[in-house]
Amino acid sequence: MARMKFLCDAERCIECNACVTACKNEHEVPWGINRRRVVTINDGKPGERSISVACMHCSDAPCAAVCPVDCFYQTEEGVVLHNKDLCIGCGYCFYACPFGAPQYPQASNFGTRGKMDKCTFCAGGPEKNEEVQFKKYGRNRLAEGKLPLCAEMCSTKALLAGDGDVVSSIYRERVVTRGFGSGAWGWGKAFPGQSG
């Protein structure tokens, strides 16, 4: 059984935001909800790197551990999903998540957050009716034999998604290729004082 994983290759990510709009296109999430976003560090300086972040579908998901109503569940492929009918919008998962994945619709009366929304790895949610599932959770691409659209449309193939074994073998190959010449770590690491 495949164990689904995301991986964003920061050497490739150019902050083009295709993953963000692909997600909006596929699931028609409303303005203000970003299941995926691109984070840039050292913006505008040497060393600038970007990385696309969404729910990482943790093996031992902190969101699930803290949820007071136990609305989270994990599919056999390791995709972390949640039941919006159970969710009370308390925001505990927001505290617990190391990636800032949980999203909340605009605040309504009395400061309630509404139902939490997050990346589903394009695996839909616990809803039998197609239309209801789409409206609540978005499309179920895995059921169609497809992978998350954000990764499939990534401009530079920085964002990888799929069976964790396959994803890691692709990434490992890239790392080995990049090790060409001065090596992955550079002569500077191997021989302190040398440049490169």
Partner: protein, 972 residues
């Protein structure tokens, strides 16, 4: 586990790869999945857990119904990404990655991934509208065409046909662009132009004058073969994001150096191996600085220069002046870095040079691009895989629209405006030359270049005496063009207000609808997007792709070719315009238009790309190699993807297209070439022959001992004519049919019929049979004697912050060009550097394109960029008392000002500010939202950068200066 690399991406290991072959065959997904449970193996388990196979119904489509896959091409940049649209009951319900496309391999940027919004959102111009007493009023198409037509015919009577300006678009398909140019000719004017003027016009002129064709020499894919990339004035990570897929592969797999030269530390520079920050507008000094090291150390390719390049000596003399000290003084780049970059380039072969608007949009743009070419010629990098000048075009079809002559200086195919050119096209159009002549005021205006797009406002505002045509411009047609991409916003506003008639034909109202304070005389006509029609589009690498219709047209929108038909009918020349083009209802048949231009575009080889061949390529994308672009087996076996021009001869000849220009390692029949002979055979006797050495060998412009594989002449030779075929005894290879056509064209002198006007294609066919390039085999030239600066010279920008350099590097003298006065020194004379101390440059954001109306109306994109901003260095911000996120005023030396948000960042150097140019709808602090037709206003509005930008045009093409001006900034 190391897998064998195919594309190094997720494609080869994708769970659903089993789906792909069928996916574009319009198989119903439900049916397919039912039948393929075994094929996708482990996936069946996924389905069992995750629920039923399903497809959410979007946009209210009725449940059920067959899901068709329509293949189209993204309309946002020149990479040419395939879009796979899922359509059910006429509704575009989903977008899938086009993994088979050799260009994008499924990838998109933010814009491409949001393309479906075109069929989803309704912030569009929905029906024809007219401004009545300051209010937008809905009218019918027939009323609109009648009223506009009557007004134009009246202007034609009183001011002449040249007072109506036809501004076309890089968003047109090839067929529409061709028809548009023909339409303008039949109206009787050369006042026709499009975005290429303010995009790559300097490239087209400068590069074509160096070696023959002014286009990208290789392809995005070919960059995967390079050993070093030298980018100058380009930020493809934002402007052409998918191209980075190819660039980063070269970096990773070949360990290729990735050198980015830019005044701004761009998102592209963030991935560079070497970033060179230099002062905006000093490209020539920078390139000469690199060549100084190359010549000094003897790193140039001497054999290549001897065989294939003329005039390098003159460059050498100029380069001598650019010592490391002088280069550092002018550009700001330290000598050690210059030497390191020069050495990297010299020791990494092949290396490619890439440039975009940062190089072209200058008063010296034509000379900048020639300097880049000369660098590559010195290194012997042109005409080799992995080398070349990879010029990234901006719009999806700006290459095609340029090729089809939507320009004031030429007819389709760069034939120019001379009598011979008109006669050639009259033959193709199947109308008498005298009839075409009769459409114009006179022969002089018929052969005189029109007003360039960048100068339309001056064409309106100048006095009648200053304009070299019967009257000033009275009517403007903006047919797919956003005015906020043009400099001098306040002057544009004045010009809009002075016009008698303003017509906007566009899917959106655009800034043209709101910038002015007019209360009448404005019409908005809704045009269909390219997703709502069919036709071919030329990507930057000269490949053509055929678009299928996805949906629509939306609301009351009409396709551009249909609108042209309606106007032609109103003007009474529809019979001539569509003589050999079938019209169904009011819509001309697109394939017939393709077939017509196939009959005339001999100069650049747009003759072999029949609609049938193009459609075959689209249907068999998966058979093309992702690096070489060549089909390996399958129905397109041997062809290069999209038949990159020149695709010589007729379609029947089955030329595979030319993947890399001037590549002598292949025969011409297989896509090989050499440099074009387009500037005479020798320098001696030219109009300006001060460069002649009076030595027949040194002055010869023919190649020496260099020729493509299989060339039977085995040396340089002139362009091929019937006379040359006769001399070589090759005329007997012509078929009787070909000979008859040539004799008909040549009359009593068939020997004078050139390869460019032979409508049989026979001359090209026979030349190629003997391994000979139809356009001759010449040398590239380093000196363009017909330009003001034969050898590119550094000249300071009109608004320079380095007035101390003016005695040495002053700009050009004032002059008259293309019917209008063109100022240089009188602008530069005014010293504003103290009052306006900060250099202002502009550029793109990844989420938006061009005037941005389309993307700012798209919520998926608009959400990501909600505020117009100016980037400024922390030092400048602190000196001016400005904090990040505060509102500031930015004012240019011509007093145009914009109120924008400050973004304090080290991305720009000290003393430099940057603004993106896609915003519009605010003007000098005023929100113009209420002036849009109801429901058609973009979600995000903002100040236009070009309200602040200033006067300045290239001395050859009148490209606008957007990249270097001055400004001052203060807290609002």
């Amino acid at each position: 586990m190391l897998r064998k690399k195919m594309n190094g991406d997720a494609k080869s290991v994708r769970l659903s790869s089993a789906l792909q072959v069928q996916a574009h065959g319009a198989v119903d997904r439900r049916t397919f999945l039912r039948n393929s449970g075994l094929a996708i193996g482990g996936l069946a388990a996924v389905s069992a857990v995750a629920g039923r196979v399903q497809k959410a119904e979007a946009a209210g489509a009725a449940a059920g119904g067959k899901v068709d896959i329509k293949k189209t091409v993204c309309t946002h940049c020149s990479v040419g990404c395939t879009i796979m649209a899922e359509v059910q009951n006429g509704v575009w319900i989903g977008q899938e990655p086009g993994f088979d496309s050799p260009f994008n391999l499924g990838a998109h940027c933010a814009k491409g991934a949001a393309a479906r919004e075109h069929a989803h959102g309704d912030r569009r111009l929905k029906y024809p509208m007219k401004l009545v007493a300051g209010k937008w009023t809905r009218i019918g198409w027939d009323v609109a065409i009648n009223e506009i037509g009557d007004k134009m015919l009246q202007i034609r009577q009183t001011s002449g046909q040249d007072s109506v300006y036809w501004m076309g678009s890089a968003k047109h398909s090839n067929e529409q662009a061709y028809l548009f140019r023909k339409f303008a000719a039949f109206w009787g004017t050369n006042n026709v132009d499009h975005q290429a003027r303010i995009c790559h016009s300097t490239t087209v002129a400068g590069v074509a004058n160096t070696w023959g064709y002014g286009a990208m020499t290789n392809s995005y894919n070919d960059i995967m073969k390079t050993k070093a990339m030298f980018l100058i004035g380009g930020n493809p990570a934002e402007a052409h994001p998918v191209s980075l897929q190819h660039l980063l592969k070269a970096k990773e797999q070949n360990n290729a150096a990735f050198i980015v030269c830019d005044p701004r530390f761009t998102r592209t520079a963030a991935h560079a191996t070497e970033y060179v920050r230099f002062r905006s507008g000093t490209d020539i000094a920078l390139i000469w600085g690199l060549l100084w090291h190359i010549f000094e150390n003897g790193w140039e390719d001497k054999e290549y220069i001897r065989k294939r390049v003329w005039g390098m000596d003159f460059v050498r003399e100029e380069v001598k002046k650019w010592t490391p000290e002088e280069v550092e003084n002018v550009t700001g780049v330290p000598g050690a870095q210059m030497r390191r970059v020069a050495k990297t380039l010299a020791s990494s072969k092949p290396a490619t040079v890439i440039w975009c608007m940062g190089g072209t949009q200058h008063t010296v743009g034509n000379a900048n691009v020639r300097a880049y070419c000369i660098l590559q010629l010195a290194l012997g990098n042109v005409g080799v895989a992995g080398g070349g000048t990879n010029i990234f075009r901006g719009h999806d079809n700006v290459q095609g629209a340029t090729d089809f002559g939507v320009e004031p200086i030429t007819l389709p195919g760069y034939y120019g405006l001379i009598e011979g050119a008109w006669k050639h096209w009259a033959r193709v159009w199947d109308v008498p030359y005298d009839w075409v002549l009769g459409r114009f005021k006179d022969k002089k205006l018929m052969e005189a270049a029109g007003i360039p797009l960048s100068r339309w406002a001056d064409g309106v505002l100048e006095t009648k005496e200053n304009v070299e045509q019967p009257d000033t411009l009275k009517a403007m047609v903006f047919w797919g063009h956003a005015p906020n991409s043009q400099t001098r916003g306040p002057d544009l506003k004045k010009a809009f207000e002075k016009l008698d008639l303003l017509v906007v034909i566009d899917p959106h109202p655009t800034v043209s609808a709101v910038l002015h304070d007019r209360t009448d005389g404005v019409y908005l006509l809704p045009a269909a997007t390219q997703y709502e029609t069919v036709g071919s589009v030329t990507a930057s690498n000269r490949s053509l792709q055929w678009r299928e219709k996805v949906f629509g047209p939306f609301f009351e929108a009409k396709s551009d070719h249909e609108i042209m038909y309606l106007f032609a009918k109103k003007f009474g020349f529809e019979k001539e315009l569509f003589k050999n083009i079938k019209v169904e209802g009011n819509e001309p048949v697109v394939e017939d238009i393709t077939r017509e231009f196939n009959k005339g575009m001999w100069t650049i080889g747009y003759t072999g790309q029949s609609p049938e061949r193009l459609k075959l390529h689209m249907a068999n994308q998966h058979t093309f190699d992702k690096v070489t672009l060549r089909a390996n087996g399958g129905p397109c076996d041997g062809d290069y993807y999209g038949l990159p021009w020149p695709c010589w001869g007729t379609a029947a000849m089955k030329h595979p297209g030319t993947p890399n220009l001037y590549d002598t390692s292949k025969s011409v029949a297989e896509g090989g070439l050499n440099f074009r002979v387009n500037f005479g055979l020798t320098v001696k006797g030219q109009a300006n022959d001060k460069w002649a050495k009076n030595d027949p060998v040194a002055d010869s412009l023919l190649a020496v001992e260099s020729y493509p594989v299989g060339n039977e002449i085995k040396d340089g030779h002139p362009p091929v004519s019937m006379g040359m075929l006769m001399k070589m005894g090759w005329d007997k290879d012509l078929t009787p049919e070909e000979l008859a056509v040539i004799q008909k064209i040549g009359g009593d002198k068939p020997e004078n019929v050139l390869w460019t006007v032979d409508m049989s294609g026979g001359i090209q066919r026979v030349a190629i049979k003997h391994g000979v390039a139809p356009f001759g085999n010449g040398k590239a030239r380093c000196v363009v004697w017909n330009f003001p600066d034969g050898v590119p010279l550094h000249r300071e920008p009109l608004y320079t912050n380095r007035r101390d350099l003016l005695p040495k590097y002053a700009t050009h003298s004032d002059r008259k060009l293309n019917r209008l006065p063109l100022l240089f020194e009188s602008i530069q004379k005014r010293d504003v550097a103290k009052e306006y101390p900060i250099i202002l440059t502009s550029g793109r954001l990844v989420e938006y394109e061009g005037g941005g109306e389309e993307q700012r109306s798209n919520p998926w994109l608009a959400e990501l960029q909600q505020n117009m901003f100016v980037e400024m260095n922390p030092a400048d911000a602190n000196n001016l008392g400005i904090k990040d996120g505060q509102q500031v005023w930015v004012e240019g030396p011509e007093k145009g000002k914009a109120k924008v948000m400050a973004m304090v960042t080290e991305r720009v150097g000290k003393g430099v500010a940057f603004m993106p140019f896609h915003f519009g709808g605010h003007f000098q602090g005023k929100d113009l939202r209420s002036k849009y037709p109801a429901g058609a206003d973009p979600i995000v509005l903002g100040e236009s950068a070009n309200t602040v930008t200033t006067y300045g045009y290239d001395v050859v093409t009148q490209m606008q200066e957007t990249k270097t001006t001055l400004c001052k900034i203060w807290r609002a």
